[in-house]
Symmetry: C2
Subunit: 419 residues, 2 copies
């Protein structure tokens, strides 16, 4: 393999997570190592992903993160790692097909050439891997030597080709932590009440499954968990609640935002109530809100809905040390793999046989097997009645939330950084 010498550029794309900056820190750490220095001459960050890069908005990360001796400033990298959301900014740009719009890619290559960029690292989820795939495909067919490597990131954990995705563990830990707090909160009164908690994950139920984690540790867990992988039936839902009320007055239920009826419509589409606003637009009440109304009508009891919303994807104050460490390691692995010649791939986390406890390694996974595909919760992780997850599911999830980082605080609040 020829040694490729030139600049590298790194970008962040898609939704924010609590760990995406740990991956950026991993890229920076590795790019500024002595070994990489022979190949990577400079490291640029794209602002707002490929979109900002096209507009020439880049930042020289060496100016921010390099010590005088050329090594990476570990103190700054630690603050970066505990900063939620994408420090470089993000975008949701879908690239055209290289076969349809060569001009677009020519423009991109021109930008790369301008800064002698030979390494392209893109941290993101399914859509971002589509960018990696298209760019790799174009590069392979044209005379511009550059290595293009995707670095996985998604709270949804729906990226194929990897055991799990960086960013997911932090979100799962926060959701599990909040759930056991919410279940305790709801248990203080004796009046019959149902609390419905809506969790992100439009098509894959991994985050919602995490709500059940306290169960395997003997903690306070939700009574039912409904994933988008199963068809949702209002009648079965009512039956579950009715049966549970026989045993206790306070029920807590976790639902994915993406649960759907047998006819394919989302529960949260508001068809249940038929409510429209003054302009005649259908009122998009949200999944938990729709279920709140339905349960209120059916049971006449106190019902509350809680939407974890944005907080679940950026809760760096409740990060998983395992996830942060793996996110950084995936970033470093990407740089190392690219230097050794890898391109057109994503770094995948491979879980070793757990006979000797949990451990992972990092491999490259061909990007064509990943882009635009989704990994859903498999059948064996969902109970027969489709109203909870199995212990096997929780055993898969549990290692991902292990450990708490030593967060640096300033007068009571975690310290974050802007780039």
């Amino acid at each position: 393999m020829n040694k490729l010498i030139g600049a590298a550029v790194v970008g962040q794309s898609g939704g924010p997570t609590a760990a995406i900056n740990a991956t950026l820190a991993g890229v920076i750490r590795s790019a500024f190592s002595r070994e990489s220095g022979e190949c990577i001459t400079k490291l640029y960050g794209m602002r707002n992903g490929i979109e900002g890069f096209l507009d020439g908005r880049i930042v020289d990360l060496g100016e921010i993160f390099k010590n005088e001796d050329g090594t990476a400033n570990e103190e700054k990298l630690q603050i970066l790692s505990q900063t939620p959301a994408a420090a470089l900014g993000s975008c949701r740009k879908k690239l055209p097909d290289p076969a349809q719009d060569e001009a677009f890619f020519d423009r991109l290559i021109e930008k790369f050439r301008e800064h002698d960029v030979r390494y392209f690292f893109y941290i993101g989820g399914n859509d971002s891997m589509d960018t990696v795939e298209k760019l790799s495909r174009y590069i392979a067919a044209h005379d511009y030597p550059m290595r293009v490597v995707g670095l996985p990131k998604t709270i949804d954990n729906d990226l194929p080709g990897t055991d799990h995705a960086p960013g997911f563990g932090c979100a799962a830990k926060f959701i599990a932590s909040q759930m056991q707090e919410i279940v305790r909160d709801c248990a203080v009164y004796t009046v019959p009440a149902v609390t419905i908690v809506e969790i992100m994950g439009r098509d894959a139920g991994w985050l919602t499954a995490s709500a059940a984690l306290p169960r395997i540790l003997g903690g306070a867990a939700p009574d039912f968990v409904y994933l988008p992988e199963s068809v949702f039936s209002m009648q079965a839902f009512f039956n579950d609640i009715r049966a549970a009320f026989e045993k206790k007055p306070n029920l807590v239920i976790a639902v994915s935002e993406g649960i759907r009826f047998a006819n394919g419509t989302y529960v949260g589409e508001g068809d249940q109530s038929g409510v429209k606003d003054v302009f005649g637009h259908r009122y998009l009440a949200g999944t938990a809100k729709t279920l709140e109304d339905a349960v209120k009508r059916e049971f006449g009891c106190k019902v509350r809905s809680v939407e974890l919303s944005l907080t679940q994807r950026c809760a760096a104050h409740c990060a998983s040390l395992t996830d942060l460490a793996e996110s950084a390691a995936a970033g470093s692995a990407g740089v190392q793999a690219a230097i050794l010649g890898a391109t057109g791939c994503m770094i995948a986390i491979v879980r070793a046989d757990e006979a000797n406890g949990y451990s992972v390694s990092y491999e490259t996974s061909e990007i064509t097997h990943i882009a635009n595909k989704e990994r859903k919760v498999p059948d064996e992780f969902i109970t027969e009645r489709c109203n909870n997850v199995t212990d096997a599911c929780l055993e898969y999830l549990l290692p991902l939330i292990q450990g708490e980082p030593q967060i640096i605080y300033n007068q009571g609040l975690p310290v974050h950084m802007s780039i």
Copy 2:
């Protein structure tokens, strides 16, 4: 003062907090101390407050929290302190007026006599202090020697007679932590967007004010903060947004659930949209949701609403060490004061002159000055345009969120306990 010898009973009442169990731990610690042992012969916990006590549902806390040598089991008290919500359960019972319903209080006294209860500790907020006031009033006029002491607790921080209330600091720290995460989350894209975060506090804006705390530390803070203490004007709100959009594309706004229009109606009452459900019931969309719809119509940009909901009052995983310590100290102070003769009072936190830094002491405050009254955010803590809080407000709040407890974890989740 006569030495009063007998059993003590402690209850929790009103809404859950992340620190109410720390106060319970303080009561237990102090009641089981050698000094108290001469007066307090036993310590009972009421299940579900005064309501459960009336049904005879009590628990002997000595059986759970005493070591063999009679001292308190500190390990268990630590787990109790980091457990959110009310470990003894809670209730929302309003006692009748002693002058109107003597029979009710006679029944209560009978229960006290049955267990030789001579000390009554009640941990709660405004409504719970009403219970303390009524019970004290009845006792004072009848021949049953018992000392009745209220221990403050409310995330709303609206209890009069105390500088601040136990439980508030934890909620404030969580809200401030989440706000700086949400602001970072919302800043990753370049498209114009407004995110509206709804925070608890129907009549007092202390919690919503806490959302601005990151500002005083140079962190990411919301652009605007609207409290229920000021009249809310949709036009002024739109003007604020319009002016802010001139400077940046991403706006984050914190609003109290209790903001009201000049005519006194709550913004969240849904009058804005006139939306009704299929049964003709007015749709209670919530404050943030109502504003989301209004901003969408006015500006046509991306708008999101986030309701922190239950999570803000039970987030023990993000507790303030200062609040936990003060909550426990207030519990201990209550026991000590009662032994020395105090009754018909609440323990108040008194903040010393801050010339030498933040410090507090604990005093008794007459219950008649507290019950059924509310302490609101004063004018000097609100900016002139009523769209944010002043630095003086943040300086008042900042000491209350200081420090992080060493939480005991089991495989990635905080350990909680049930009683």
